[in-house]
């Protein structure tokens, strides 16, 4: 049906018919701007018109009840070329035409004059004398533009084409003006009609057709959106009427729509107008369903024109729901199942139509609920017709099917090519048999679920899943049902919807019973028995069911049930006091809140203890705990099922993870991430540790940081206008997320931990409500234990409570075991040798207790003696100092120590330097396995040294005692004696110090003693003299020092060699003859006198008579400082003191500088000639070996310091400067 606006033509009809086709095709070719009244936006439209010959009748109707089929524009065509002819005939005809129009008040007209170029030419001379001018003059007085000329349209030259286009443009314009006028008039009347809607005689159907016509007009003008508005208005109006009728305000016409529906034809989406329904509306026989279908179909057609298929989808559900609502409100009588049929058909029709658009994906958001709706309705039908599984179709139901199929009417798609499965064929097929129904139903369900999942409405998908579960249960496929139900159960538990969880569990219990999955059945029954939302009766019932079922699982492994929500472990408290020592009995109190309706008798209750002994394990444990946590998060919903593997390690992290929880919660202001609701949530919902922080934020979007960037806006002059922080991908971040992660974690897979150690109790009756159970264990390993899993075991059922579900602070035990230690310590000061000192032997008991009389043996190295100090004047007097000591200990409690003081004395031997004296003490006892060696260092309090002094032939021995420690020592009775009694005659000692004197030495203070050595010079040789120095020492009392120390003796032996003076040297410098004083630069004489001391007999014979005298040759060397003295001639020479006791040597020396110059020194050495024999001689008490090879060269042997006495040592001579008088003064 295509009704175009009508344009009449009058005048020369034959002329017009020649042009008609050209006009009909030409007009719509270009768009024309439609200027609209009432401030509506102007639109560009294409006009298409139908031409009809002008007749008076078509103008008769006064009030425009309709707009289509009405002439809206009137044209007059003439080709009168002559003014005369015009005056005679054409004018009259035109006049009567114009009069007829005027009578009807029509102002939309147009006169077209067809001109040939010739006609124009002839009249060129006279202005305003053409026919056109005349016409304009006669008719177009106000609107000359309504009179147009057309130049020879049959020709194709540019001029005629141009005039043709001008005509078309003008015609289009005038047509739109006319159309606008007509529409305005129509709309006005329509509005007036609408205002009358409260009147009793008013009919919606009638008005509907009126406004629909307007919609048609818009549709013809290709203004689909405007057309849609008209339908939407109608829709809203009708809806309002129905809603009002529900409130009791029901107009009479509405009863039409209340008539019973006997047919439930589905929606048929087609762009064509359904004239049959339109006719029904006109005759007011339309049913509500038909009317709604019609209206929606029109709306959809327009939406499709507007290329908005998604809106079709989005409107469809509202349409369906709304219509059903209206059916209810109007109490329309529909045979049962009819509405459902209609719903299914309509849904499928819409989805099919969208499918044709090949953009199903884009509409998924809207189609998902449609699929769900269709599925729902199909299920309704299935139940009605007994097609659901588990019900047999009765004959009455068969009748229903037949009547339903009848009501669907004819398939509108039956004639389509290519033939496809239309909604109706599908529905009919579904209703034909239970098998077919099942197939279609499952198909629909699957589509609905998958579409829901696709758009992220998991919950809606699950709701369908729940429905399907019931279907499968009825179908006898409980396994499939269980899959859907467990899926749901997890979500409900996680989110804490107890009621829903319980409902699901009730269904699950049936499933498990049907599949005879006893383990799960028992578990579910237990959970139901503990459910707080169920009535007592049901709980008791399930408790009994559980107990019955348990009977069936007598064999095999016991059934493990997570104890959450059934038996809640409140806390574990350590009852035992004090430190827990290895092997001790530990007592722990466990509080359990039983939610079961009846008592249960647990054969055993135990808490497994995890033991971790050293740091290494805890570190590696932490690592695995982290990786564990990561994998748990990666797995999404896989909960921290306490697997035996993770069990050990996670414990270590307790503190760690909780701390990170608190940090994460504090960092997020909006997050209320379960701060303290339960320990389980706090520990498991935390994103553990920094490494998995990203994971954690993924889990909880509330703590995810937004990617913010700095945004600077500049003004035109490039100065800063504003600075802001923006989130560039806000639409991505602020998107809704499907799953926010549940609040409560659900342990689905409980694995019993295998731990060696556990706290346990036997045969405990747990009553409903709070219970306290005391558990015992004996710890057999030292280290830390942490409680992990709590297991309450009935005979074949074990309630397992994972570590995270245990309330209260985590229980940790520290079992200690320390072996006894023995140590030997010194007193406050350093230990001194030679004095009795105090040391302390300390015994730490560790974790054992030491019985009385336990013996500790000490054995010291040589030179160190010790003794146990008697306490408080004990019965026995202080024993003597021994190298071996046995100490008997008194009774010692664990973790305490006992000490016993010891007196030790280290021997002080001859001490020539400050080296410490080292000793070792070995400690052995039954308490310690191995012998223990302790190094003890003693510092000598002083040391002694000696020095021999010579004055010509006299000898003096000095003994120096140097203090080494700060502690002062008093020295008395220093004596020196010759050890060998035979030598006492040869060497006589004479003390030069007062013998009774007491001297004190300490670290800054030394004491010296001097003895004169009277040597018998007559005796030949100098045999070694052994002397012994001894002195009594006593530490000076200190106020806080140890008890009185008796004076002890210090002895030191010393050997004296070469203590006799053999030669003396006297040297002097004399000026040369004639001068009195030495003068620099002048030659002087150095006189050296050597004299042998002692017996006059040649010294060669003193030791061994066989030696030859030449062996006593002496070499002298003059060693002068070369800056002061120049020695002339030989500086060295060999003298042989044969026979003679005295020898003189004179040599020339020249002082080089003035002043007091030290004399050149003279050194004497024994000279051993080259050809000396191979022998060993004893000279000066020293053994000199003459090696054969060396004998070819003469050798020198130095004298010992005491053997040569130089009288002139350190003498100086006054030398005058060179220029002065030659006076020299020798200071001899």
């Amino acid at each position: 049906m295509n009704r175009r606006p009508i344009v009449t033509y009058a005048g020369d009809n034959s002329l017009f018919s020649g042009l008609q086709t050209g006009l009909v095709t030409g007009l719509p070719q270009e768009s024309v701007e439609w200027r609209r009244s009432y401030g509506r936006p102007s639109r560009c439209v294409h006009v298409e018109v139908d031409f009809v010959p002008f007749s008076e009748e078509c103008l008769v109707k006064e009030t425009p009840r309709t707009i289509l089929g009405q002439p809206i524009f009137h044209t007059y065509w003439t080709d009168c070329s002559d003014v005369e002819a015009y005056k005679n005939t054409t004018r009259d005809s035109l006049q009567s035409w114009a009069l007829a129009l005027k009578q009807h008040g029509i102002t939309d007209w147009m006169v077209v004059l067809l001109e040939t170029p010739d006609t124009r030419k002839g009249n060129k001379l006279l202005p305003r004398t053409t026919v056109l001018d005349k016409i304009k003059n006669d008719f177009g007085s106000k609107q000359p533009e309504r009179c147009v000329s057309l130049v020879d349209p049959l020709k194709t030259d540019s001029r005629s084409l141009e005039s043709w286009q001008t005509l078309l443009t003008k015609m289009r314009h005038l047509l739109m003006v006319a159309y606008n006028r007509a529409l305005n008039r129509f709309e006005e009347s329509m509005r007036a009609e609408r205002e009358r809607r409260t009147e009793k005689s008013w009919s919606f159907c009638w008005y509907f057709l009126l406004q629909e016509e307007l919609a048609h007009v818009f549709q013809l003008l290709a203004l689909y959106d405007e057309a849609l508005v008209q339908y939407d208005e109608l829709d809203a109006l009708f809806t309002q009427f129905v809603v009002n009728s529900a409130a009791g305000d029901s107009p009479r016409w509405l009863s039409t729509f209340s008539q019973p529906c006997e047919r439930w034809e589905g929606l048929h989406l087609t762009p064509e107008l359904d004239t049959t329904v339109q006719a029904k509306i006109r005759s007011k026989e339309v049913t509500l369903l038909e009317f709604r279908n019609y209206l929606f179909q029109r709306q959809c057609a327009l939406l499709m024109h507007l290329n908005k298929p998604w809106e079709v989808a989005s409107r469809a559900l509202t349409f369906l729901q709304n219509t059903v609502g209206e059916l209810n409100i109007l109490e329309v009588n529909v045979a049962p199942g009819g509405v459902a049929c209609w719903g299914v058909l309509s849904c499928l029709e819409v989805t099919d139509a969208l499918h044709r658009y090949h953009t199903t994906d884009a509409h998924a958001l809207h189609t998902a609920p449609l699929w769900a709706y269709a599925r729902d309705k199909l299920q309704e039908l299935g139940m009605l017709c007994g097609l659901m599984p588990g019900s047999a179709t009765s004959s009455a139901q068969l009748h229903t099917v037949i009547s339903l199929v009848c009501g669907m009417g004819n398939d509108p798609h039956s004639h389509e090519e290519p033939p496809r499965e239309s909604p109706m064929t599908r529905l009919k097929d579904s209703l034909s048999s239970p098998q077919a129904f099942k197939k279609h139903f499952l198909e629909l369900s699957e589509v609905a679920i998958s579409t829901y999942k696709h758009i992220g409405r998991i919950r809606s998908a699950r709701l369908i899943g729940r429905d399907l579960a019931s279907f499968y249960m009825a179908q006898g496929e409980p396994q499939k049902a269980a899959t859907f139900l467990t899926d749901q159960l997890t979500v409900f538990l996680e989110e804490g919807w107890q009621l829903l969880a319980t409902q699901t569990q009730l269904q699950l219990a049936e499933c498990y019973l049907a599949t005879s999955d006893l383990e799960r059945y028992v578990r579910t029954c237990a959970q139901l028995a503990g459910s707080c939302v169920l009535g007592n009766e049901l709980r008791d019932q399930h408790f009994n069911k559980m107990m019955e079922a348990v009977e069936g699982v007598k064999e095999g492994l016991p059934v493990l049930i997570p104890s959450e929500r059934i038996l809640e472990v409140g806390s574990l408290n350590l009852v035992s006091e004090g430190r827990i020592i290895l092997g001790a009995e530990v007592e722990v109190e466990l509080s359990v809140l039983s939610k079961l309706p009846q008592d249960i008798c647990c054969t055993s209750v135990h808490v497994s203890l995890h033991h971790w002994d050293d740091e290494n394990e805890s570190i590696s444990g932490r690592r695995t705990a982290e990786s564990e946590a990561k994998s748990q998060q990666g797995g999404g919903k896989t909960q921290n099922a306490a697997t035996p593997h993770s069990s050990g390690s996670s414990t270590v992290d307790t503190e760690h993870s909780t701390s990170s929880t608190s940090s994460s919660t504090s960092s997020s202001t909006t997050s209320s991430n379960s701060t303290s609701t339960s320990s389980s949530s706090s520990s498991s919902s935390s994103g553990p540790s920094e490494s998995s922080e990203a994971e954690g934020s993924r889990m909880n979007p509330m703590i995810q940081s937004l990617p913010m960037t700095l945004h600077l806006e500049y003004k035109q002059d490039k100065s800063l206008s504003s600075a802001s922080v923006t989130c560039p991908n806000s639409h991505k971040v602020l998107r809704r997320r499907d799953s926010q992660g549940g609040l409560y974690k659900v342990d689905r897979n409980i694995v019993k931990e295998e731990q060696k150690d556990s706290l346990s109790a036997k045969d405990v009756i747990i009553r409903p409500g709070p219970n306290t159970i005391v558990l015992h264990t004996k710890v057999e390993k030292k280290g830390k234990y942490s409680a992990s899993q709590v297991v309450l075991a009935l005979e074949q059922v074990e309630f397992v409570c994972g570590r995270w579900s245990v309330g209260g602070p985590p229980l940790t035990l520290e079992v200690v075991s320390e072996s006894p230690r023995i140590c030997l310590g010194k007193g406050s000061r350093d230990l001194l040798a030679g004095v009795t000192q105090e040391m302390v032997l300390t015994v730490h008991s560790g974790s054992c207790s030491i019985s009385k009389g336990t013996v500790v043996k000490l054995r010291s190295s040589r030179g160190l003696t010790m003794r146990r100090q008697a306490k408080e004047e004990e019965e026995e007097k202080e024993g003597s100092l021994e190298r071996e000591v046995e100490i008997q200990l008194s009774e010692v409690a664990p973790f305490s120590s006992v000490s016993s003081p010891l007196t030790v004395l280290a021997e002080l031997g001859p001490q020539r330097d400050a080296a410490t004296i080292e000793h070792m003490v070995s400690i052995s006892s039954t308490l310690v396995e191995q012998r223990q060696d302790v190094d003890v260092h003693f510092i000598p309090p002083f040391m002694s040294s000696h020095k021999l002094h010579t004055a010509n032939t006299s000898k003096f021995l000095q003994m120096t005692v140097t203090g080494l420690v700060g502690h002062p020592m008093e020295l008395t009775q220093a004596t020196l004696k010759v050890l060998d009694p035979h030598q006492e005659q040869q060497v006589q000692l004479k003390a030069l110090h007062p013998t009774s004197q007491a001297l004190v030495v300490c670290s800054d203070q030394a004491a010296s003693y001097m003895w004169e050595l009277e040597v018998d010079h007559q005796q030949e040789g100098t045999p070694v003299v052994k002397l012994e120095f001894s002195v009594m020492y006593q530490p000076q009392e200190l106020p806080d020092g140890p008890g009185p120390n008796p004076p002890r003796i210090y002895t030191s032996t010393l050997d004296l060699h070469d203590y006799k003076t053999l030669y003396t040297i006297r040297a002097r410098v004399e000026p040369s003859k004639g001068s009195e004083l030495c003068r620099a630069g002048n030659m002087c004489h150095l006189h050296i006198v050597l004299q042998q001391v002692g017996p006059t007999s040649p010294p060669g014979s003193r030791a061994e008579p066989g030696t030859t005298p030449h062996q006593h040759s002496i070499m002298y060397e003059v060693l002068a400082d070369q800056t002061m003295w120049a020695v002339c001639g030989r500086t060295a020479g060999v003298l042989t003191l044969e026979g003679a006791v005295r020898q003189c040597v004179t040599m020339d020396v020249m002082p080089l500088a003035g002043g007091f110059l030290p004399l050149p020194s003279v050194r004497l050495s024994k000279y051993i000639p080259a050809d000396s024999k191979h022998n060993t001689s004893r000279e000066g008490g020293r053994k000199v070996e003459h090696v054969g090879s060396a004998s070819s060269v003469p050798r020198l042997q130095p004298f010992s310091p005491g053997q040569v006495y130089n009288f002139s040592k350190a003498q100086q001579v006054h030398v005058l400067p060179a220029s002065n008088t030659l006076q020299a003064d020798s200071l001899t």
Binding site: R459, L500, T502, S672, L743
Partner: protein, 142 residues
Amino acid sequence: MAVSGNYYFAIVGHQDNPMFEMEFVPTNKEPKKEDHRHLNQFIAHAALDLVDESMWTTTSMYLRLVDKFNEWYVSAFVTAGRIRLICLHDVKNDDGIKNFFMEMYETYIKHSMNPFYVPNSPIKSAAFEKKALFYGRKYLTG
């Protein structure tokens, strides 16, 4: 005042956990049996996805109708702290529900300021319940 119908009201927390539930039935009608309570919950729970979806489409807290399930309408309100107030109703009562939500929002805010109340945990307060009942009677079942 619209026709009085049945209402089911729930407050849902951050982790989709129910924090508060209440049913309102017209005073003249017999209260429904307890057995059907979970059906309302099922619908409310399933509607959470839709609430989350429409939350982003508007800046206002009151989301109006978010879902329709059989005879039930689902209206929702999202607080600034993303606590969701959900109302199931079988009659349209836009204004009443909006007012009810606003009042309940305020009541919730006041309740959450209690330092002893842990945010996002179930609300167990007689005063809160009394308020909810009062506003329910005032705006919903009326």
